[in-house]
């Protein structure tokens, strides 16, 4: 295990150093080789760790290794260490697998981009931070890599920094994450000041002596951090704009790995959350609200990647619902399967954009208007997209069915019918928007679509291999249920037939609705937009939330301008400088006294003498 952990960190760091110092100067177009090698090494190490933990070689599935003492200060000691247990090994396995495939895909996708080297440096830096985040053994170390991931997303979203929209999206993503990190950090400080330590084992062991108020606050603040990173309701504004980045970035970070960090944090602090049922209920509610809202918006978007982005937000909401209902296994299982099929969907969208490259003239995303009838031109991509769509909507043989079904069982077990029905609605919604996209983009052409009548070509071999691999994984991931349950020490998943049938029915209903809307009435999608422009604007604006956050940011900026200009420049600065002028003015007035009029001098003498005399007489 020691060596595996060492490989986890040594490989990416050495690849980065090689890439930055060696390849950047001499052979920038070859930088992907060290990166791919390190990805392979990390995947091997993590899979090996999964096997070790699965087979029970590690006592009670937790392996810890304190590395070094980072800082000691008075009462508390901050140490860096590694902790690999069932949860982190499983997620690490999925993350490293998906990252390797997406790295491979990115080689093809970014082949002709001029800053190829810079892209891979940032990409691999993200991979390093993600790995670091998953194996951290205390909250502070997790926070360090947490912000590292945030920085990587800033750099990668703003990769094509010539475009103003990319710059704005990058900055928006980083700022929203920073707001979430504020909560995370405050929770860390709360723990530090009350318990004196932030190591998971110590914190969960001494949960008892935390006063209930602090416990409640810590749980809420941790959720705030997770909400920012996993794009939950109040802080989800950055994810749709994050599609400005290149597609491999959207695939890896904003679909499979980075956004799941929030859910991972929640899963990691499950013992703490279980102490505070109120927060759990709140998490379930927020998760449900986010997934419903995102599903509704996703079903109406025209841009390929935006639909997938909102779908990610919706699926993450579902995972949060699972966490909220205390179903840790369901959430993690869905996280893993979602990682596979969402990455697959994004990669297929990537090849579509790559294929339509000429007609898009450089736009990072393709709209449904540009696509249309692609199935004939891109058969492989269509097949993979179909598998991904089926997995996402939860059709039995594929992965989505098992994990979503488990979540629904968890929700059903809580007994609240409303929650269960709404979750079913979310399941239906997810199949609606993904199949609408499938029908619009791949099958049947519409008059409004400027689709590739002539020349869409299948993407290169290097991009096809990862797509096919991911297709296989998203098909087979369903079987991962039992081993994952064993690793997490949770109960083995059993299929409750009634719930699975209900879920299957919802999914089928969704597909039928999508088929009816897209295929039976070809131009329905464009007609209702013209009919209700108002509805279109609200949905585009996230029910008004995007403009609200933009307005808040604008108000803060205006306050800062007012503070620095009107207060600093025009009132406080001149005030202090005016002190000098008043002193000078005082001096000048005093000089007027001695203008040379002798009589006045004498007059002052007489006045002075009389005052003195008066004082003397007063004294005696």
């Amino acid at each position: 295990m020691q060596t595996a952990a060492l490989v986890l960190f040594a490989a990416p760091v050495s690849a980065l150093l090689l890439g930055f110092f060696v390849f950047r100067r001499w052979r920038p177009e070859k930088t992907h080789w060290p990166m791919l090698l390190s990805c392979a090494a990390v995947t091997a190490a993590s899979l090996w760790m999964c096997v070790r933990i699965h087979d029970g070689f590690i006592p009670d599935n937790v392996w810890e290794l304190p590395v070094y003492r980072w800082a000691c200060a008075g009462s508390f000691v901050l140490e860096f260490g590694l902790r690999v247990d069932g949860l982190s090994a499983a997620v690490l396995g999925m993350v490293s697998l998906v990252s390797t495939l997406i790295h491979l895909y990115a080689v093809g996708y970014m082949a002709e981009d001029r800053s190829f080297n810079r892209f891979f440096l940032y990409f691999h830096f993200f991979f390093l931070s993600m790995v670091g985040l998953l194996v951290a053994d205390n909250y502070l170390q997790m926070y360090v890599f947490w912000e590292g991931v945030g920085l990587a997303s800033f750099l990668l979203i703003g990769f094509w920094y010539e475009k103003a929209s990319a710059r704005a999206a990058a900055w928006k993503a980083f700022l929203t994450n920073r707001i979430g990190d504020l909560g995370f950090m405050l929770a860390v400080f709360l723990l530090l000041s009350s318990l004196g330590t932030v190591r998971f084992t110590d914190v969960f062991a001494r949960l008892g002596d935390l006063p209930h108020g602090t416990l409640y606050a810590v749980a809420f603040l941790l959720f705030m951090g997770a909400a920012a990173k996993s794009a939950q309701f109040p802080l989800h504004v950055w994810l749709p704009d994050a599609m400005e980045g290149p597609t491999p970035v959207s695939a890896l970070m904003h679909a499979a790995t980075m956004v799941t960090a929030g859910v991972f944090l929640m899963a990691r602090s499950m013992p703490l959350l279980r102490e505070v049922p109120g927060v759990l209920a709140m998490i379930a509610l927020v998760g449900l609200m986010t997934s419903l809202g995102a599903a509704a918006v996703a079903a109406t978007r025209k841009d390929l990647k935006r639909v997938l982005a909102y779908s990610t937000v919706s699926q993450l909401g579902l995972m949060m619902v699972a966490i909220g209902t205390g179903n840790l296994f369901g959430a993690v299982f869905h996280l893993i399967t979602h990682g596979f099929f969402k990455a697959l969907l994004f990669l297929c969208a990537g090849s579509v954009i790559h294929a339509l490259h000429e007609s898009l003239n450089g736009a990072p995303t393709a709209s449904v208007d540009d696509a249309g009838g692609l199935a004939r031109k891109l058969p492989v991509t269509f097949g993979a997209f179909l598998i991904g769509a089926l997995a996402l909507s939860g059709i039995p043989p594929l992965a989505g069915f098992f994990s979503k079904d488990n979540i629904l069982e968890g929700v059903h077990a809580t007994g609240s019918l409303g929650l269960y029905l709404l979750s079913l609605l979310v399941a239906a919604g997810s199949s609606v928007y993904i199949f609408r996209l499938l029908f619009l983009a791949f099958l049947g052409e519409r008059p409004e679509q400027r689709g590739p009548k002539a020349h869409a070509h299948e993407p290169g071999f290097r991009m096809k291999v990862p797509i096919l691999a991911l297709a296989v994984f998203s098909a087979a991931a369903g079987t991962l249920g039992e081993p994952l349950a064993k690793m997490l020490g949770a109960a083995a998943p059993h299929l409750d037939l009634s719930i699975s049938f209900a879920a299957l029915g919802a999914a089928a209903a969704g597909i039928l609705l999508a088929w009816w809307a897209a295929m039976r009435r070809p131009s329905f999608d464009w007609k209702w937009r013209r009919a209700q422009p108002e509805l279109e604007r609200i949905l585009d604006d996230d029910f008004g939330w995007q403009s609200f956050t933009a307005a808040c940011a604008g108000r803060v900026a205006a306050f800062s301008r007012r503070l620095s200009d009107s207060w600093e420049k025009r009132s406080w600065d001149p005030f202090t400088e005016s002190l000098a002028d008043t002193a000078v003015g005082l001096g000048e007035n005093l000089t007027l006294l001695s203008r040379g009029a002798l009589n006045e001098y004498l007059w002052w003498i007489v006045v002075g003498a009389s005052v003195l005399a008066g004082a003397v007489t007063l004294c005696f």
Binding site: W171, F189, S193, R561, E568
Partner: protein, 481 residues
């Protein structure tokens, strides 16, 4: 005599450099000497035992118990290193400037005064060096600054003199009150610790001393001199000003106020801690709205020192160690930023944010260094800024949670002023009148300077333990009181 050399050597070197016949010679000796002094200050760690290095007392007790006493503890030693290092870097950075010998001499003079302040054990010598430090900085800003230097240097001097006046009043009051209470004339800091003075008199002395130090840290209402002084000072000047002169105020709090009035400091926590938080937020908000790069960096240093203040007044070992570490970090990252802005100004003679366009593609090396040091200054974890801020706020979390939360908002605002500035200068396309086209990338000398800074930032960020162990005993000693 070890410590006396620390300030006496640069003073002598100042005279020697001033008298040098040729400018090249003066520049060379100044740089070599500052390197030597830096090595010497590092070597000073060897005899450094637990707690104080050692008490150097020379001569006989003068009138009113004044005696030439020097001593240095972990915090003071680290600040000496910082000033020595920053002098080396600023001298190296202004290598190409065509300036007379006096320029190099005044830097050495400034270094001498700073060393004096950090090592002084006797309040009288502390005050003496405190005021001497002002003179070279006045010349640096006044003679070699940019366009508005007259007003800025005058404002700087008037503000700081006001501060040192209040400091003098405070010191005199302290000593006389101490004499009345104990009948002993003494200026020695360790003797004055936990003075038996109490009641209104102690309050007024505390207020006077605090005002004197607050002007130097620039606490919120008294900070007007900082942006002007920085925008008008030459690059090397603002590195020294931000890097080590601002620390004199904090060092004063640390060395004089906390040990002498422990109970009052505890009582002053909400006031001064609150002011620290106001400093953080005010600095960050003003930085967000600046269009001049140097003024932006000046306001960031106001925000960083707010963290130090918060850490200091948490009166916990973690807080104080964090504050002293944050002083070092601020010296490195803001010093680095000023060096970078100086290099930019050296090439383009312009500092506006929107004067430059896609520098990332034109000067990639410069972009890398600027990004790295900017990230360290907005507190990206893994770099040094984060360590300092976390320790300060963790210390304050014990004392009062609302202040910690407000402080944390400061870190969010840090991202809000840091990244847009970075994007405007490096990512945004070059505007019509921008100065980007003709810019040359960094040459070897500049790269060397910046690599040392990057190395230090990374070392303090990833493995701050050795430095913390140096600061730890002094901090916990203060906290226990």
């Amino acid at each position: 005599m070890l410590l006396t050399w620390l300030w006496l050597a640069p003073a002598l070197a100042m005279i020697v450099v001033w008298a040098m016949p040729s400018r090249g010679l003066a520049r060379g000796t100044a740089l070599l000497f500052s390197l030597g002094l830096f090595a010497y200050s590092l070597w000073l760690l060897a005899p450094y035992s637990e707690g104080l290095l050692h008490l150097e007392e020379l001569g006989v007790a003068g009138p009113l118990g004044i005696r030439y006493r020097l001593s240095v503890d972990g915090i003071a030693l680290s600040l000496c290193w910082l000033s020595a290092l920053l002098t080396v870097l600023s001298l190296a950075a202004s290598w190409k400037a065509d300036v007379p010998n006096a320029f190099w001499a005044s830097f050495l003079g400034l270094e001498a005064a700073l060393m004096g302040v950090f090592c002084a054990r006797d309040l009288f010598y502390f005050y003496l060096f405190w005021d001497i430090a002002l003179i070279p900085m006045f010349f640096i800003i006044g003679l070699w600054g940019s366009s508005g230097r007259r007003k800025a240097s005058l404002k700087f001097v008037l503000y700081t003199f006001l501060g040192s006046l209040s400091l003098l009043i405070g010191l005199l009051a302290l000593v006389t009150l101490h004499h009345q209470a104990t009948g002993v004339w003494t200026w020695d800091m360790s003797a004055l610790e936990k003075t038996p003075i109490a009641g209104r008199a102690a309050l007024w002395t505390y207020a006077a001393l605090a005002l004197g130090f607050a002007v130097k840290i620039p606490v919120f209402p008294l900070h007007n001199w900082l942006p002007d002084a920085h925008t008008e000072a030459p690059a090397a000047g603002s590195v020294m000003l931000a890097g080590s002169m601002l620390k004199m105020g904090l060092f004063g709090f640390l060395r004089v106020l906390l040990p002498v009035f422990p109970d009052l400091s505890a009582a002053a926590l909400p006031v001064l801690g609150g002011l620290g938080v106001v400093n953080i937020l005010y600095g960050a908000l003003c930085a967000m709205a600046q269009s001049d790069l140097k003024r932006l960096v000046a306001f960031t240093s106001v925000s960083h020192l707010g963290f130090c203040l918060v850490g200091l007044f948490s009166l916990t070992a973690a807080g104080i160690a964090g504050a002293s570490l944050q002083m070092l970090n601020h010296g490195l990252s803001t010093g680095g930023l000023f060096l970078l802005v100086g290099m930019l100004y050296e090439r383009a003679h312009r500092r506006g944010l929107n004067d430059f366009g896609e520098l990332a593609s034109r000067t990639p090396i410069f972009a890398f260094f600027f990004a790295f040091i900017l990230l360290s200054s907005i507190g990206l974890p893994g770099l040094n800024g984060f360590v300092g801020e976390t320790m300060c706020l963790a210390g304050m979390a014990k004392a009062s949670l609302p202040l910690t939360a407000l402080g944390l908002i400061g870190t969010v605002l840090a991202a809000a002023y840091g990244l847009p500035a970075f994007q405007a200068v490096f990512w945004a396309p070059a505007g019509p009148g921008s100065a980007s086209p003709g810019l040359a990338d960094l040459d070897l000398r500049e790269r060397l300077i910046l690599w040392t800074l990057v190395a230090l930032i990374l070392w303090l960020g990833l493995y701050p333990r050795p430095m913390l162990e140096l600061l730890e005993p002094a901090a916990s000693a203060l906290a226990q009181r």
